[in-house]
């Protein structure tokens, strides 16, 4: 399907229109259960995201990068991945983390400033959130090289924003992926802004997907607010990667509905009109209409979904807030495999300054 949409001709893969009608020749005709699951994960992501914002406003969470508007790309991508695949995320990937089974309490911990959330549970192949923009891309390529070396039939996914495509690591990573024909899927969440700098200031290229052509592999621009398009494109690119077909760049064309982070005020650099236009393309509302059309959505289903999401979020918040901050030992423990004597002395010195000794 990917090769039917040529980024050089401005073609974009879209399956659902803004009223949630699927193009008959493109509809992947996913099983009913999967469709409902995709919807539920998107709804859960939105609730968990909204909650994080509220916690930040209440002083219960640190600076937070909201995912509002990105649910279709995050969930559609992660739902197409297998448990054996690897994920090298960026810092706006809540829906992908939840879909891959990462505990929400741990995700909250990171943004709350608690190291406890930084250990990916065993069995999940998720690298930590990458804040230095684009730096996760060569890492994902190296993981792809290792997968090839070890002959593992897996794919390695990296996500990043449109701003990251201007970074050297984007070029170095994608170039190496092309040369080594690695099993990578690169997903650019082209959400039109890198903090305040608009997409047009990142590249004069009409699409970001077309950059893949210069690296010698396929690139496709898709509607990032259409979960079916995301799922279908990701599934195909992942299958290509796993079967030795090499890397793919997917540009998910979307919009950052929220501020860059809670420290940002997007009204300084973009108009209300623009934001309102994108509200009409809301990924969840659009998919709900599709489900309704297929008889898979009802008020009762919605109530259940929201109740389950609220329960999950409340439990995660309670768990995250109940966990004490890292101990002095803990913040020293992971600097080296074996702590050098100097560091042990510094730890002892720090502990000696704490009331009542070690805390």
């Amino acid at each position: 399907m990917i090769e039917r949409f040529d980024p050089l001709k401005g073609e974009r893969l879209r399956i659902l229109d803004e009223e949630g009608r699927a193009a008959p020749d493109l509809d992947p005709r996913l099983a009913d259960d999967l469709l409902r699951t995709l919807y539920e994960l998107m709804a859960r992501t939105r609730l968990a995201d909204t909650k994080a914002l509220r916690l930040q406003r209440q002083g219960r969470m640190g600076t937070y990068a909201p995912s509002l508007g990105h649910e279709a790309t995050q969930v559609g991508l992660a739902a197409a991945m297998s448990r054996e695949d690897w994920f090298f995320p960026y810092f706006r990937d809540l829906g992908a983390f939840l879909t891959l089974g990462f505990p929400l309490a741990d995700y909250y911990h990171f943004w709350m400033g608690n190291e406890a959330g930084m250990r990916t549970p065993d069995g999940l192949n998720i690298f930590p959130i990458s804040i230095p923009v684009g730096s996760q891309i060569p890492q994902a390529v190296g993981a792809g090289m290792a997968a090839k070396y070890r002959q593992l039939p897996i794919a390695v996914v990296a996500t990043f924003g449109d701003g990251a495509t201007s970074e050297g690591d984007f070029h170095e990573g994608l170039n190496m992926a092309g040369v080594f024909h690695t099993p990578n899927v690169f997903v650019c969440l082209d959400n039109q802004f890198a903090i305040s700098v608009p997409r047009a200031r990142q590249s004069a290229a009409p699409t970001l997907a077309q950059k893949a052509i210069a690296y010698g592999f396929a690139g496709v621009q898709i509607d990032g607010n259409d979960v079916l398009a995301v799922f279908a494109a990701a599934r195909e690119a992942l299958a290509t990667a796993r079967s030795g077909g090499g890397p793919t760049l997917i540009e998910a064309f979307t919009y950052r509905m929220g501020d860059h982070t809670t420290s940002d005020d997007a009204s300084r650099y973009r108009s209300k009109d623009e934001v309102q236009q994108w509200e009409r393309r809301d990924p969840i509302a659009r998919f709900r209409q599709y489900l309704q059309g297929r008889g898979l959505w009802s008020e009762a289903f919605e109530t259940e979904v929201q109740a389950r999401a609220a329960d999950l979020v409340e439990k995660a918040v309670a768990e995250a807030e109940a966990r004490p901050p890292a101990s002095p030992d803990d913040i020293f423990a992971y600097t080296f495999a074996v702590m050098p004597p100097d560091l042990a002395a510094q730890l002892a010195e720090l502990k000696a300054t704490l009331p009542g000794g070690a805390r």
Binding site: W86, F88, E115, A116, M118, R119, T120, D122, F127, P128, I131, P132, S135, I137, P138, Q139, A140, V141, G142, A143, G144, M145, A146, A147, Y149, R150, L152, V156, G168, D169, E172, G173, N175, M176, V179, D330, A333, Y334, T335, F336, A337, P340, P341, D342, L343
Partner: protein, 324 residues
């Protein structure tokens, strides 16, 4: 077998590739060409292109890739062709290599050994002669290693590749072919984090590493003729630093010179002098002296002799301390 340092490094790489199939070697020109200094000569033919890889000319890409390889269980040994070209990879080293263990509470680690030739003294082009080891010593989580002989180079490199921590392995280009030495055929380790007293003395301690060790030895021989007995501590691992060996030596001799070819200000000599001041002040018969490069850009080939310390300059410091 008698060999140079660059041959010893080659043998260490071959030995580790042989004994552990998780080890992979890669970088610019390391494959078919065998490296610009021939450090990887023959490895491509012997171990194949899947384990000895020529990469695109992309330092950040190579080091970043090493992190991902490590996540999937490999022990990557990337080569940066010269230390002067490591800076594009600095973000990967600072933000990820040094701290991935901490960032994941030990779930992911970086058993990566980044090899790079460094230092002045071979009349190379601009950007080929710097000694910026202090930049890396400042980063928690990194181990910084510098060998000074062929024997040490082979054993320290084997230990670095086997280490579960990331290692910046700095190879003094000036010593690559400067001396030949008997080096065992079989693999062995020289332990990390341990300095060595490479010459015993009574009156004064010189703390040095890498290409400054031969300078220290020459100084010591000249001082001996003048009746001054110099002890030399070869740091070998610059960070984490073996402070106890330094302090034991200074407590014995009562005088210390820190000798390095990097610029003076915020160089590692400052850290060593501070360590001695903190812990051995009352043993000192004279202030700690630093003999270093000046705080200038490394001159081009014709005047690089003015830049790095030579035995005459060290000897002047020896006399100054003895007369203090």
């Amino acid at each position: 077998m008698i060999m140079t340092m660059v041959q010893a490094i080659n043998r260490a790489l071959a030995g580790e590739l042989e004994r552990d199939d998780r080890v992979v070697v890669f970088g610019e020109d390391v494959g078919r060409d065998g490296g610009v200094f021939r450090a990887t000569e023959g490895l491509f033919d012997r171990f194949g292109p899947a384990r000895v890889m020529d990469t695109p000319l992309a330092e950040s890409g190579a080091v970043g890739a090493a992190i991902g390889m490590a996540a999937l269980g490999l022990r990557p040994v990337p080569e940066i062709q010269f230390m002067g070209f490591i800076y594009p990879a600095f973000n990967q080293i600072v933000s990820h290599v040094a701290r991935i263990r901490n960032r994941t509470r030990g779930r992911f680690t970086a058993p990566i050994t980044i090899r790079t030739p460094y230092g002045a003294g071979v009349k190379a082009l601009e950007h080929h002669s710097e000694s910026t080891e202090a930049l890396f010593c400042h980063l928690p989580g990194l181990t910084v290693v510098v060998p000074s002989t062929p024997y040490e180079a082979k054993g320290l490199l084997a230990a670095s590749i086997r280490s579960d921590d990331p290692v910046i392995f700095l190879e003094p280009t000036r010593l690559y072919r400067a001396e030949k030495q008997e080096v065992p055929e079989e693999p062995y380790e020289v332990p990390l984090r341990q300095a060595a007293v490479v010459r015993e003395g009574r009156d004064l301690t010189v703390v040095a590493w890498g290409a400054m060790i031969p300078v220290a030895r020459e100084t010591a021989a000249a001082a001996e003729a003048q009746g001054v007995s110099v002890e030399i501590v070869d740091l070998r691992t610059l960070s984490p630093m073996d402070r106890s060996t330094i302090l034991a030596s200074v407590r014995k001799t009562g005088r210390a010179i820190v000798l390095h070819e990097a610029p003076k200000t915020c160089g590692l000599g400052a850290e060593i002098a501070a360590t001695i001041g903190e812990s051995a002040l009352l043993s000192l018969k004279a202030p700690v002296a630093r003999v270093t490069a000046p705080d200038i850009t490394v001159p081009l080939a014709k005047r690089e002799d003015l830049y790095y310390p030579n035995p005459d300059r060290v000897l002047r410091a020896v006399r100054r301390l003895m007369e203090y």
